[in-house]
Amino acid sequence: MKAPLKSTLLILLCGLLWACSGGESNVTTGNRDGILHLGNGTDPQELDPHIVTGVPEHKILTALLEGLVLKDPATLEPIPGVAERWEVSDDGKHYRFYLRHNARWSNGDPVTAGDFAWSWWRALQPALGNQYAYMLFVIKGAEAYYKGSIKDFERVGIHVIDDYTLEVELANPTPYFLQLLDHYSYFPVHRATIEKFGGADERGSQWTRPGNFVGNGPYNLSEWRLFKRVVVSKNPYYWDADKVTINAIHFHPTENVTTEERMFRSGQLHRTASIPIDKVASYRKHHPELLYTQAYLGNYFYRFNTRVPQLSDKRVRRALAMSIDRDAIVKQVTKGNELPAYTFTPPDTLGYTAPDGFRYDPDKARQLLAEAGYPGGKGFPVTELLYNTSEGHRKIAVAIQQMWYEQLGIKIVLNNQDWKVYLNSVENGDYAIARAGWIGDYVDPNTFLDMWVSGGGNNLTGWANTRYDQLILKLAPEASDPAERYRLMQEAEALLLEDMPLIPIYIYTSKNLVHPSLKGLQPNLLDYSLYKRLHLDASFSGEVIH
């Protein structure tokens, strides 16, 4: 009976030996052939810029399509994209874009002002189910058109002057408008291709498949296999093709961050989308040159349901906020150089910094709690802290649960729910305290502040303040002077932090591992890179990192 066992072992051994003999790593072959391998997080759902919602999709689409304006990755200031220059009127409401004549689609067609107008019209078709249609609402009449109160698209502030001149009229002076143009909801799409494969507002037609896709970005879609990879290769028609040095990019779906880190270590990726929390310390110690951490435009916070009796008192909410030792959380739990947050808007968001709304002060917290009628936590009902199932959220919740118990004597029970159930609970107000995260859509305090207006779709705390609404919805947008606008927003944020319907915990960081052969990355708040500025140093091989 030993023979079968022996032969099994033999087969396995042969397999192993055969396996060990071959196989150059992706990084080695990539550096030689000019192919960039990127970890890209979740598997992309779709590649239609007016349907997608996620960051992974954004990273692929910026290779395939290009808006009127790009961002300089170093400063995040607008730089010319399809538009080679633009003019802004004195009242800040009229933009005139002059499109470059050599901009081409990947089939050779010229990119015209009409393409943009048609694409934006498409993005505003309700039947398409575009979740980011609201990004276009800064354009005059766009919201009314989308909601059906204007039927005539001519009345929306998008005017084609000629093939290479586009004028846009805004509802209010919007200092961040140029930034929006680099968001996928403003990307142009190729009309003839879309109409060939279905209606303009048809969701999920075949036009985004490799072979069908026509774009105007530096790369062309050449392969898209679910859960496997998306491959884009150089578009010879791209107006700036001379500057594009990388021949192809492979986007690898890497939902499992642990696996992603191992792929990186064995030379399968040039850059990861993330890094497991527990690995940060060891990379910082042994390979600091591979670890990139950079403040990211997002806030990790807890929502209060202000309709829950014990949380309706702002003294209680402030006490809870003031008794979290954020430095300990950032150093011991999340470990990624996150910035402890005492405001909701990340500090220095294009020059805007809100005054700190509170400090870590357990003594003051105990005093506030006592004033609210719960001295030493006595009589405070057991309260539930809700988070969606994830290692990181769990760790933070466990640490905070204990801090509140030790500092305030308050008993918290944790409740983790599957993502969709969690969303459902929060939307229905079926929670007491709930973990949340907010990533800015663009670099401007408005994307952090307009969500807290009374009854806002993302407010969900039951908190309402008329002065706040007035500041955010009326006074700030209409302010003519940028400094005055920021001052009004600071006033609003101070109100928000005084009432504390939420507890800011930390400002996100983007954390990546980058192979030394990948050059030209410029860290910024948006984890944004211009592929045409990257290049691979062929002198590096993809040796395994120990």
Binding site: D278, S282, A328, V398, A399, Q401, Q402, L414, N415, V421
Partner: protein
């Protein structure tokens, strides 16, 4: 010849107590099985006494200390919150052992009864019963769990229910297969011809004779139940942090096995020892209860 064998068998089965007494005598001779029994008893005693003998509180954190390797203060080290691992493993044993035993018992009870009835009845009854098993196999388990959670809220009893609901299916299939092959054996036919009622035959002859594979499968079910608990707790059903169980400790330990290996090694070792003990005990029981197998 066959007649007389059958009758002796019947006589044996009538005196259920002596069967167990004999088994105990045989079990006592099996040192490995006794060792397994000893370990299990020890673990149960520890689990019961944990609240009084644990060196630390299971939720007491020391964030400044963080994850530290085994030391004089913390024999098995601490986790990233600076919580004592020995304490957490001890508290975890309460959850894991309870879930392991109770959920398995539920699965065992349903599975054996169901499988025996189906296998013995045969024909149309069997077909309908086994198609029901097929249906339950096929339903999306995760959606089922999420629904349970939402409808009934979070509850440790639900955990038993959910686990029992899945685990009995395979048990039923195995027992049915066994019963089918037993049914045509002489002593069962003899029992039928003697006019014993179906229920009596099932109870006295079929179930005892399926004990072998059932015990084996049970020793396999307990560990998989303990691990299933970790998965369900991870999904939000079952226990919530800061409470813990072996399965959860292991799944957390896997994440950091390169950085803090002791967070994986100690809970892993505990679970492995338990499983080995169970396994030895199971084998011993099987041999002890089934005199035919232990001869030669």
């Amino acid at each position: 010849m066959t007649e007389s064998v059958a009758i002796t068998d019947l006589a044996d089965a009538e005196q259920g107590t002596s069967l167990w007494k004999d088994a105990w005598v045989r079990l006592r001779k099996n040192h490995l099985a006794l060792f397994g029994l000893g370990v299990m008893l020890f673990l149960c005693v520890i689990a019961l006494l944990t609240p009084w003998i644990a060196p630390y509180g299971y939720e007491t954190q020391n964030l400044q200390l963080g994850a530290s390797p085994p030391s004089a203060e913390h024999w098995l080290g601490t986790d990233i919150f600076g919580r004592d691992m020995l304490t957490r493993i001890m508290y975890g044993s309460r959850v894991s052992l309870a879930v392991g035993f109770i959920a398995t018992a539920v699965a065992l009870l349903i599975g054996v009864l169901y499988g025996t009835v189906a296998g013995f009845a045969g024909g149309r009854v069997d077909a309908v019963m086994m198609r029901l098993v097929d249906i339950l196999y096929a339903l999306p388990f995760m959606i089922f769990i999420v629904l349970l959670m939402v409808v009934f809220g979070r509850n440790i009893l639900l955990l038993f229910l959910a686990i029992g609901a899945v685990e009995w299916l395979t048990m039923a299939r195995i027992v049915r297969g066994q019963v089918q092959s037993l049914r045509r054996q002489e002593f069962i036919e003899a029992a039928i011809s003697l006019g014993l009622s179906r229920w009596t035959i099932i109870r006295r002859h079929l179930i005892p004779n399926t004990l072998g594979p059932v015990i084996v499968y049970t020793t396999l079910t307990i560990p998989s139940v303990m691990l299933l608990e970790a998965f369900l707790s991870f999904l939000g059903l079952g226990i919530q942090p800061p409470q813990s169980s072996w399965g959860l400790l292991i799944s957390y330990g896997v994440e950091t096995m390169e950085e803090y290996p002791w967070l994986l090694i100690f809970p892993g070792l505990t679970l492995s020892i338990t499983l080995f003990a169970l396994n030895f005990l199971g084998d011993g029981l099987r041999d002890a209860l089934d005199p035919r197998a232990s001869k030669d």
